[in-house]
Symmetry: C2
Amino acid sequence: MSDSIQPQILVEIAELARTLGHAHRVALLCHISEEERPVEKLAELAGLSLANASQHLQNLKRAGFVDTRRDGKRILYRLGGGPVMALLGGLQQFAEFKRAELRQVVVDSFAQPSRLHGISREELLLRLADGGVTLLDVRPEHEYALGHLPGALNIPLEELQGRLGELPQGQQIVAYCRGPYCVLSRDAVTMLRVSGLKARCLESGYPDWLAAGLKVEKAN
Amino acid sequence: MSDSIQPQILVEIAELARTLGHAHRVALLCHISEEERPVEKLAELAGLSLANASQHLQNLKRAGFVDTRRDGKRILYRLGGGPVMALLGGLQQFAEFKRAELRQVVVDSFAQPSRLHGISREELLLRLADGGVTLLDVRPEHEYALGHLPGALNIPLEELQGRLGELPQGQQIVAYCRGPYCVLSRDAVTMLRVSGLKARCLESGYPDWLAAGLKVEKAN
DNA sequence: ACATCATTCAATAAACTAATTGATTGATTA
DNA sequence: TAATCAATCAATTAGTTTATTGAATGATGT
């Protein structure tokens, strides 16, 4: 076997990962991904002291996850170039997978013979173009606010039972949540079908959509 | 604005990232991804003491990146469930993007009017089924050895000039490397075209292929 | 030019992480 | 049942990383 992987790229990968290895930095990165923001605002959002936030932000910048520009007195941080969100999405998906695994649901839903045959992103895009589909985001409100598929309706799973009336009767409904390992949309589809509605799952969730570079909508 | 992201998932994400935040652990994970292996072998491959390797491996296991099983006296580590390779691929791609950026090549290749119109994975799969395509992996040999697209020929970019004779004359050649931000395959295509061969780039690289869950080939 | 304001820098103490050593576990073979 | 062997655990030391403080930038607006 050759001398395995180039050690230098390993070190670079590890450095990138370590930069994301602190909850405050991940939080800051999320806040930046929502919208370009000055340091003070970010510190407030993340609940950090100014100097502390500044240092974390500089770490993120050194790693290339964010960029800055000056606007008058303030320095605005924005998302950097490159596949930053894909990376963050990958982490989020793995975290989501682990949670699902803990609840011992993954195995069940894979074992389940009718996997509710989810709809792929490609098919969804086609269906959306035709207009015969209602997109339903069943994640909690704050996650929806941070970004969702264009035109998606938000009814968190917990509220779904009580808000069935808000959904169109004739149309096909496509529910999605955090990804293939997240059970929210599966539960939603089961619930909707029981109520006599035509519902399917999106195979992949919001992070995946984001990672694929497709357009998203954000709350104001 | 609502209370932003759930702090708990942020902590979990950060923990995952921190686990990948050490070159030795990334190296171990790569070695494990190649093949199920016992601790001793992994320690040797990564150049670590046994106890040290064991500790790193346990970190990886705690995070869910790897799993273990016993086989006689030895304990074999294998890749865990969930989108581990997608995550690692995401990191690799971001690292690759940064390198390209440093060389100030990304901007150029995006600015370049004819982006060498790359071929998509879907199209490649179709073409491969027809058999009229030669797949060319232009990454260094050791990277190729760790895994490559099924049936791909390996000629590292540095050797390409001298080994043009190994390529079929009539067939379309599809070159790939580490991903959309890697310049190896672009350079290769340019070189091949100059030599009168029909060549195109794969839009996405090996890590992306891996992340998409498609079949790969490994050296023995 | 001066005062102002957002941000960064520098220095410190506290907390955490990594590598080494040697002891321990737990399954296998004789 | 004892010897063996792979792997893990425990404890130590050295090295990093984090949050805090207060001082230093550096562009703005009067």
